[in-house]
């Protein structure tokens, strides 16, 4: 359960101040697929950065399973990210000079997974994206689609609860892009992780259970935020009541 609670983000000060996000508020249940849609400059990337704890909101808070993300100490936040989150990027960000194995093993190393278990998990992850035969090849030798599959393997190897995908098909042709889309939604069902996709591809957004459309930093409209979600919102409020008050006073300052 992720609750995005009244998030605002303002860059700059006084006259130069610019609101990237204005009172963005929604909640998504675990295991769902969420599309954050909007034109460039609509604040969708900023929202993703704040949701993943890479950026700090000016006001509001992110509640993940009742915990306030931005109140965590740096080390705890790092550990939280290492254990529970992962990322897929438009430009893949795989290390071209490293082998597929080394690329996929990185999150396991960061999360301090015991060395004995690593090999098996890397093999499993590569199998899921059908790259088992490339395990000892350098990432530089892969095609664009294969690189993104490698990035997906890296994203799922640690069995995270939450995967952020920033325009995952943006650098790929339609056929390859469709293939990657299939893979992502298939894995979402198989692993049961929450998938947050930032995209401006309406087709991809269409396939997500929840769509959040942003315009100029505000939620323009949402689809799929059902009663079920609203109920979840209520239950999430209870354990988070005290810290919620804290931050709201902070926000007024």
């Amino acid at each position: 359960m992720i609750h995005v609670k009244n998030i605002s983000k303002i860059y700059g000060k006084k006259e130069a101040a610019f609101s990237a996000l204005k009172d963005v508020d929604f909640a998504i249940p675990e295991g769902s697929t969420v599309a954050i849609i909007g034109r460039s400059g609509s604040g969708k990337s900023t929202l993703m950065h704040i949701m993943s704890g890479l950026d700090h909101p000016t006001r509001g808070q992110i509640l993940i399973d009742g915990e306030i993300l931005h109140e965590m100490k740096a080390r705890k936040m790092d550990k939280f990210r290492a254990d529970q989150m992962s990322f897929i990027f438009q430009s893949f960000f795989v290390e071209a000079n490293q082998t597929c194995y080394q690329n996929v093993a990185l999150p396991l190393e960061i999360a301090k997974t015991k060395r004995r278990g690593r090999k098996h998990r890397v093999h499993e992850a590569l199998k899921k994206v059908e790259l088992s035969d490339k395990i000892h090849q350098k990432a530089a030798n892969l095609s664009g689609g294969q690189k993104q599959r490698l990035a997906i393997a890296r994203a799922i190897v640690n069995e995270p609860k939450l995967i952020f995908a920033d325009e995952p098909t943006g650098n790929l042709d339609t056929v390859t892009g469709d293939h990657i889309t299939e893979l992502l939604f298939g894995l979402n069902k198989e692993i049961g992780c929450t998938l947050v996709i930032v995209t401006h591809d309406p087709e991809m957004a269409e396939r997500c259970q929840i769509q959040i459309r942003l315009k100029d930093g505000k939620i323009e409209s949402t689809t799929g935020l059902t009663q079920n979600v609203k109920k979840a919102k209520k239950t999430a409020k209870k354990p988070a009541q005290k810290p919620a008050k804290k931050t709201s006073t902070k926000g007024k300052k």
Binding site: A82, F87, P107, I110
Partner: protein, 456 residues
């Protein structure tokens, strides 16, 4: 992240930029090369000095004198006050100075210092000449110096043996005198007599007035030199570790030395006055005991030098040279540090995205910093190993040639490489490299992941 994983990742990223890594490491290698050779050369020089000391001095003895100028102390640039009791004038570097000498009374005083076992007067007797009676080269006479033999010494002998102590009228001769004295081999010289002569002081009674020429004339019937026959008991091998200037010394027993000295100095200011004496300290191998006795001697107005002091005196020049070369090596290392800093900055810039990704995946700031510090350490390690291995290789290759050129004895080498020393040097270089990597690694650790991951 586990340290081992960080070390492996940092090593891997260096391998990916091989040329850059090796070039940066080479800069350090140059400094390391110089430092390793300096270390090896000073080890060799130290070993050489130690050998000289071991062959010429007894560590349980203290060298005692009255005048500190003998051991390089004192100030000879200022006029010295005249003292009648000082004895003869000796000249140091051309200027006349008076050397305070030990008298028999002083020797007794030294003997009374608690902890001193025995005192042996150090005597260098300038012989008038040495010759071989009845030999082929009978007429040939050579200048020589005789010294009272120190029984604790063990000279290498070509032939014969060394009775300890040397008996009266026994002499050890150096290899160099064999041919001049007409001996075909060292064995042939054993048990043969040679003649040592000392000049007797001028005796006014030997002058006679010649009424014919109205001049004083020497009485030719009075012998000017005192000649004594000695038996050769041993022939000493020429040692590369001989105290410089003593290669041609002959050694005679202490009693003979004292007697010859008395003959040579009778009726002069130097009669029964000695430059220095060696005092053996009981349990002198214990540095604390040696020091106590040394301090006591100084308290009683003597100058006392332990073997260690002598060693330091001898190593002083070596030390200066060592510091100069080591200084240049250190400068080279420091210069190469800027190379490391530069390389590391480039590495951080090149891997901005990777750093951003690692941070996004939850890698701690500290671990990112470590990743780059280890990378710097690897460069330091590589440079250190390359430099010291190069120095070791070259040194081992050149050692025989250098040893030959310096006429060192067999088994003695100019360059001595010690592995633990090299390991410490490489370790220090790694530490210094890490310090050089501090700024770039800080930059990496502070990198904002959002900026780093912004799509180009």
């Amino acid at each position: 992240m586990y340290i081992t994983d960080i070390i492996r990742r940092s090593g891997r990223s260096l391998r990916q930029a091989k040329a850059r890594t090796i070039l940066t490491a080479l800069a350090i290698a140059v400094g390391t090369f110089a430092l390793t050779l300096t270390l090896a050369a000073s080890n060799g020089a130290q070993a050489f000095v130690d050998n000289i000391i071991a062959d010429n001095f007894d560590p349980t003895e203290l060298l005692v004198a009255k005048d500190e100028t003998l051991f390089g102390g004192g100030d000879v640039s200022k006029p010295q006050e005249y003292d009648e009791s000082f004895g003869d004038f000796a000249s140091s570097a051309g200027a006349a100075v008076q050397i305070k000498r030990l008298t028999s009374k002083d020797v007794n005083k030294i003997k009374q210092v608690p902890g001193i076992e025995s005192v042996r007067i150090e005597l260098d007797i300038n012989l008038e000449f040495v010759t071989r009676p009845g030999g082929k080269n009978d007429s040939k006479k050579y200048v020589a110096t005789a010294q009272a033999f120190n029984p604790s010494k063990n000279p290498d002998l070509l032939a014969g043996s060394v009775p300890k102590p040397l008996n009266n009228r026994q002499v050890l001769i150096p290899e160099g005198f064999l041919e001049p004295l007409g001996f075909a081999s060292a064995e042939q010289a054993i048990n043969q007599p040679i003649t040592l002569a000392v000049r007797k002081p001028f005796d006014p009674d030997s002058l006679k007035f010649n009424p014919k020429t109205m001049e004083l004339e020497e009485d030719k019937s009075i012998e000017k030199n005192k000649k004594e026959n000695f038996t050769v008991v041993g022939v000493m091998k020429k040692a590369s570790t001989a105290q410089p200037g003593t290669e041609l010394y002959m050694f005679i027993g202490s009693a003979d030395a004292l007697r010859l000295n008395d003959i040579a100095t009778k009726d002069t200011d130097n009669y029964r006055k000695y430059l220095s004496a060696s005092a053996r300290v009981s349990d002198g191998n214990d540095p604390a005991k040696l020091k106590t006795v040394q301090d006591e001697l100084v308290n009683r107005g003597f100058v006392a030098l332990s073997v260690k002091d002598t060693q330091e005196f001898l190593t002083q020049i070596i030390d200066v040279l060592r510091y100069i070369v080591a200084g240049f090596g250190a400068i080279a290392v420091i210069a190469s540090l800027f190379g490391i800093i530069n390389t590391m900055y480039i590495s951080v810039l090149q891997r901005t995205r990777e750093i951003g990704l690692m941070k996004a995946l939850g890698m701690h700031k500290r671990d990112i910093g470590r990743l780059f510090r280890f990378e710097a350490a690897w460069i330091g390690f590589l440079g250190g190993v390359m430099g010291s291995a190069g120095a070791y290789g070259l040194g081992t290759l050149l050692n025989p040639t250098i040893s030959k050129a310096l006429q060192l004895e067999e088994g003695e080498v100019f360059l001595i490489f010690r592995l633990p020393e090299i390991a410490i040097l490489v370790g220090l270089l790694m530490l210094v490299a890490i310090i050089a990597g501090l700024l770039p690694s800080r930059k990496a650790a502070k990198l904002d992941p959002i900026e780093a991951l912004r799509t180009e």
